[in-house]
Symmetry: C2
Subunit: 239 residues, 2 copies
DNA sequence: ATACATATAGTGATCTAATCACTTTATGTT
DNA sequence: AACATAAAGTGATTAGATCACTATATGTAT
């Protein structure tokens, strides 16, 4: 239960301690038993007994796992496998509100990653993926016409659906992570943009190109869309 | 101390509980006081008293933070700010060994992201960044000529240095995360490659182009390099 | 038989208190 | 000044208790 420290580890190596080893052991158990998100694990007390540790020690381990979204402890109910258990790339949930400079970096990172994703989506043209994009686009259209303030959330999901439609799990997780980190700023970005209809039309244009399988055009349209967003943010945030 | 649940949260929303709120509060304290990685926090006991909770409760919160690399608990010494405290995108440290299919997805994600990074690096030509690349390249050359088995680790770092030289923090974190997830597989990939010298020459070629500021050529060279790697991995892993 | 209310059992959440293990600092000796 | 030892501080883990919430079982009314 004391595996060699991984020298290639990102950040400082974790010192050996029971809670760390237990977190790894519980994660390994989840994977070995092919448990899925939502599946229930044994109770904290039973897990503690199984691994022959005290309950608070197992609790510390589970809190580690919970921080990654690998498990969920539900008060009065039990311990469940979390949605992120098989996720590779995660956003830091405790990252503070991004500075203006970092907001621009986040957008520029998306500027590099999302156009190839749009191209991938136009290449694979996955029916479910395209269906999701179209459904999200309809929801966005409803928000625009009804001046629903939830538009910013829908726009977030729109970018996520494109990433998923690209068919590469890693890229989808990356975009989801980036979008998560500056999610609240999206509301401000939409406000800075000042033209929800134009933003929506750009989203629609991208969707049409992806659905039509026009790979290069989809890529270019996404580039242009994100360039527009970055430009607006740069101008408005430099005042 | 019970902020509204973030509806845009990636994965399932965290239920309110003390340990979760405390983790957030400690993270916010670290950011508010501009503490840096390696800085020491108050002891667990003092933190517990400050936030008026029991020690085990504070410990659970700190384990959450530790899982993200936001703090480090050093036995007998104290609580320190961790290296990931200001990191946005993280690898899941408990992710199991990638399947072959996922390994290919990881490489393909890099295929989309790293060429634009190489182009960025060739654009900004940051002296420190280029110096790191060259130093890592020298180390790789030494490993190749001395048949040092650490070559795979050095190659990992080579890609990281390019990502950092690109000047975009988010992209660097993304690459670091992706590289981390399939780090151990890099050893196998290098073995599958079967030609360390050629791999090294490709790395050197990319470096020269970046240093020379040849943006398009750097991009293309990185594309070609990763295409080669993916092709080899596809062929060898399909048998 | 069905629907609703209440009680019980199970389970997580937090606390108090103790002991052990490690690190850092202080003190003593050469 | 260098080294050794002791003491203090701190994290690590355990044991045990109480409280809060959820799920299940049981009872009552229609």
């Amino acid at each position: 239960m004391y595996p060699a420290s991984a020298a290639h580890e990102s950040g400082q190596p974790q010192r050996r301690n029971l809670s760390n080893d237990l977190a790894s052991a519980v994660a390994a158990m989840i994977h070995r038993e092919s448990l899925q998100p939502g599946d229930q694990l044994d109770s904290v007390k039973v897990l503690a007994a199984r691994f022959q540790v005290a309950v608070p020690t197992m609790r510390e381990a589970l809190r580690r796992l919970e921080a990654m979204g690998g498990v969920t402890l539900r008060h009065g109910s039990g311990v469940y496998v979390g949605e992120n258990v098989r996720r590779m790339v995660l956003p830091n949930p405790l990252y503070p509100k991004p500075t203006r400079g970092m907001l621009v970096e986040l957008l520029e990172a998306r500027r590099q990653i999302e156009p190839p994703i749009a191209a991938l989506a136009a290449t694979v043209r996955d029916p479910d993926g395209m269906e999701s994009m179209i459904a999200t686009l309809s929801e966005a259209e409803r928000c625009v016409s009804e001046a629903d303030e939830q538009l910013w959330l829908v726009n977030l999901n729109f970018h996520r659906t494109i990433a998923v439609a690209g068919g590469n799990t890693v890229l989808a997780e990356v975009i989801d992570s980036i979008v998560f980190i500056h999610a609240e700023e999206q509301l401000e970005i939409l406000r800075l943009h000042g033209d929800e209809r134009r933003d929506f039309e750009e989203h629609r244009h991208i969707t049409e190109l992806i659905v039509a399988g026009d790979v290069q055009a989809a890529r270019s349209a996404m580039e242009e869309h994100l360039d527009n967003v970055i430009q607006i943010v740069r101008e408005r945030l430099s005042g």
